[in-house]
Amino acid sequence: MSDTTTTERYEPGTHPDMPPPLLESGMIFWVRKNLLSSWTNATLTLVGLYFLWLILPPFYAWAFGDAVFTASDRSECQSLGDGACWAFISERFKIFIYGFYPEPERWRSILAFVLLFVAIGPLLFDKFPMRGKAMLFSMFYPFIAAWLLLGGFGLTPVGTDQFGGMLLNVIVGVTGIAFSLPIGIVLALGRASKLPAVRIICVTFIEFIRGVPLITLLFLASTMLSYFLPPGTTFDLLMRVLIMVTLFASGYMAEVVRGGLQAIPRGQYEASDSMGLKYWQSMRLIVLPQALKISIPGIVNTFIGLFKDTTLVIIIGLLDIVGMGRVSLADAKWAGLSSEVYISIAIFFFLFCFAMSRYSLYLEGKLETGHRN
């Protein structure tokens, strides 16, 4: 048969394509190149497979195979299967999300959450329709959200002690980032300033914030902050936490913005000087728009860090999603299900933070190709 194929004659340019050589493409080639290219490589593959075999089948059995999805208490779970007891999570799911936010008012927190995306849309995507007008909405969003969540002016008031669960994480994280951005910009400008007094004050503040753990700042908020206010004033624990988290985030934000400022070529500053622009004009019209644009990935990364750090509020007694999880674990009906609780909270955080880090990577890639000089 091979004889006939080799002897057959073709007009030039009419020979049919030959199949690719088996060992140079396709599955087998891929496996040989990526998994078995050398002895060390093959060993690594075997070790990797062994690890997967150690981890995956037992985990699958625990999380899906032997898991119980509907039950009314722990003992029923145990009688139905010896895997995870997800029934507990599905029963407590709403508590994890809303905390003790009153049931009939929960639509308000959902609405605030949806509006959050409407508000950050124009900030993150430059092709947003009617961006200028949408930005105005973004500016007023914090007040709208505060009104929706707290109530008053026609809505049933809800005390901040009823905030909890994931709602609380999102509130603390978003507030911290939203308010720390302007403070951080001012601090970064102060740090880059030619005026020594301003520079020293800003550097001291930034380094102080970055030098201490968030926990100590939260302790300050819960134990000491009221000492520094006029005698007799008290205010809400959540409010104090929000102030401290904002200050904390602004220290980090200042460094991100400083990175952006340093990446702007000197020529831009000099050009705006030669146009006769004053300091604030040149900052507002020339420097900051460019600096902030290239800082966006850093800002998103700061937000991811801050969002993860919002879990620390449990240490001063606020019940965020981790706090709610720990409270639920104390329920005698469902005792001993900590793995289920922690793993579902971990999945929740992973989804949020992973999505955001992908977005920031996408932005970095997009900015990389942009003309900078």
């Binding site: 990526n34 998994l35 290219s37 490589n41 690594l44 593959t45 070790v47 990797g48 497979l49 690890f51 997967l52 030619k194 005026l195 020594p196 007094a197 301003v198 004050i201 102080f208 970055r210 030098g211 201490v212 753990p213 968030l214 926990i215 100590t216 302790f219 300050l220 134990t223 000491m224 009221s226 000492y227 520094f228 206010l229 006029p230 005698p231 006769g276 004053k278 991811i304 993860k308 750090d309 879990t311 620390l312 449990i314 240490i315 981790v322 900590s338 793995s339 922690y342 793993i343 909270i345 971990a346 955080f349 992973f350 949020f352 933070c353 992973f354 880090s357």
Partner: protein, 407 residues
């Protein structure tokens, strides 16, 4: 929008006094000075205001501002201390125990996270698709889950999944001397006897000797071009010299073995579950970040460096050692510094699982007992600031040393 140089028209027509002030305002330098004076005055006023508030508030609740409480007995127990401590010791002593515990977890965490991070970073770049993707999954999972959750999960794992001491006696041990239990990991404790100083002396000698030898080998290589395996000889000296001294001194080391008494092990060396959980969690969390930093650092070195080294005939291992890593370190060190700082600060989360660090002792129990919020928080914050400062100074010094020498 008057431009900078032309004074405002009103300033020309008004009185001289007004003119002078306007000139001051429109002069860039004097305005800078004025602005600074205003800023400092504003800040001073703010500080004076909150200080007066604090004094008034302290008077109102009848508290004084003093550090006397540090000399009073602490009256609480600390389950892990590197120095002598009992509940009769002073608050100062308790504070020191807490600080040492924080430093211990920070040092252990930094060392293990650096090793694991470099290891994972290199594996992430491995040509092996499977291993690279597995490391990628691990890194992404670890980075995107709060460190507090890691600590709680691993603490749960350590205290629930490990057996009780009695069961550990039967199956969870290595050679009947190291026991893994839910009360901690127990191992034999070395008790140095009289002649052990010789072993320590031999070890110090090995360190000094290897430094001297490395310098001599470098000189010799510069003169003759011959290369000596400095690394392996030094490693050999590290193990051999103390071992020889140990044998010559007549094995001056006794071991205190842990024994099961009642419900728990007694004696030996114990790593408490809180320490273990915190250490593991901080190591995993930080190593994921370090791995990404290392990967970025190695990728930042251009391919031409590899090719140039190959062209002059340097072996692959020595290329990595002499060409790639030194250059990658310049990219790696600054972000690595902030990871070390983060790890130290994250160790304050110890309080969530009851590891007695500085926040849990001074900022926790001492604060509750004495009611000295301000003084205790000053101690805690001062401690963290000092540690942060020391870490950044050391790392900046190192970064300065490995920096590209520009001529």
């Amino acid at each position: 929008m008057a431009s900078i140089d032309t004074p405002a028209p009103s300033a020309q027509t008004d009185s001289g006094q007004r003119n002078f002030l306007a000139r001051l305002w429109y002069n860039k330098e004097t305005r800078g000075v004025l602005f600074q004076i205003l800023t400092v005055a504003g800040l001073g006023a703010f500080i004076a205001y909150i200080t007066s508030n604090a004094i008034a508030n302290l008077e109102l609740v009848g508290k004084t501002f003093s550090f006397d409480f540090l000399n009073f007995p602490a009256n609480y127990d600390i389950n892990q201390s590197l120095i002598e401590y009992s509940s009769k010791s002073t608050h100062l002593r308790a504070a020191m125990v807490g600080m040492l515990n924080t430093l211990l977890i920070a040092v252990c965490g930094v060392i293990s996270a650096t090793f694991l991070g470099f290891f994972l970073g290199v594996l992430r770049l491995s040509p092996n698709w499977l291993v690279s993707k597995m490391v990628y999954c691990f890194i992404e999972y670890t980075r995107n889950v709060p460190v507090l959750l890691h600590i709680l999960m691993i603490h749960g794992l350590v205290t629930h999944a490990l057996p009780k001491p009695r069961a550990a006696q039967e199956w969870a041990n290595i050679a009947d001397s190291i026991f893994f239990t839910n009360r901690g990991v127990f191992s034999p404790m070395p008790l140095p006897q009289g002649g052990f100083n010789f072993v320590i002396a031999a070890f110090v000698l090995a360190i000094v000797g290897s430094f001297v030898f490395a310098r001599w080998a470098k000189k010799r290589q510069d003169a003759t071009g011959q290369h000596l395996p400095v690394f392996w000889i030094s490693i050999g000296a590290f193990f051999l010299l103390p071992a020889i001294a140990y044998v010559l001194a007549g094995a001056p080391l006794n071991w205190d073995f842990p024994e099961l008494k009642g419900f728990n092990f007694r004696g030996g060396f114990v790593i408490r579950p809180e320490f273990l959980a915190l250490w593991l969690a901080l190591t995993l969390y930080t190593s994921a970040f370090i791995a990404e930093i290392v990967r970025a650092g190695i990728l930042a070195i251009s391919k031409g460096q590899w090719e140039a080294a190959m062209a002059v005939g340097i072996s692959r291992a020595r290329t990595l050692n002499l060409v790639i890593i030194p250059q990658a370190m310049r990219v790696i060190v600054p972000p690595l510094t902030s990871q070390y700082l983060n790890l130290t600060k994250n160790s304050s989360l110890a309080i969530a699982i009851g590891y007695m660090d500085v926040v849990a002792t001074v900022g926790g129990i001492t604060l509750m007992q004495t009611g000295k919020e301000m003084e205790t928080m000053i101690i805690v914050i001062g401690f963290y600031l000092t540690v942060s400062l020391i870490i950044s100074t050391v790392m900046n010094w190192y970064n300065e040393r490995i920096k590209l020498v520009e001529r």
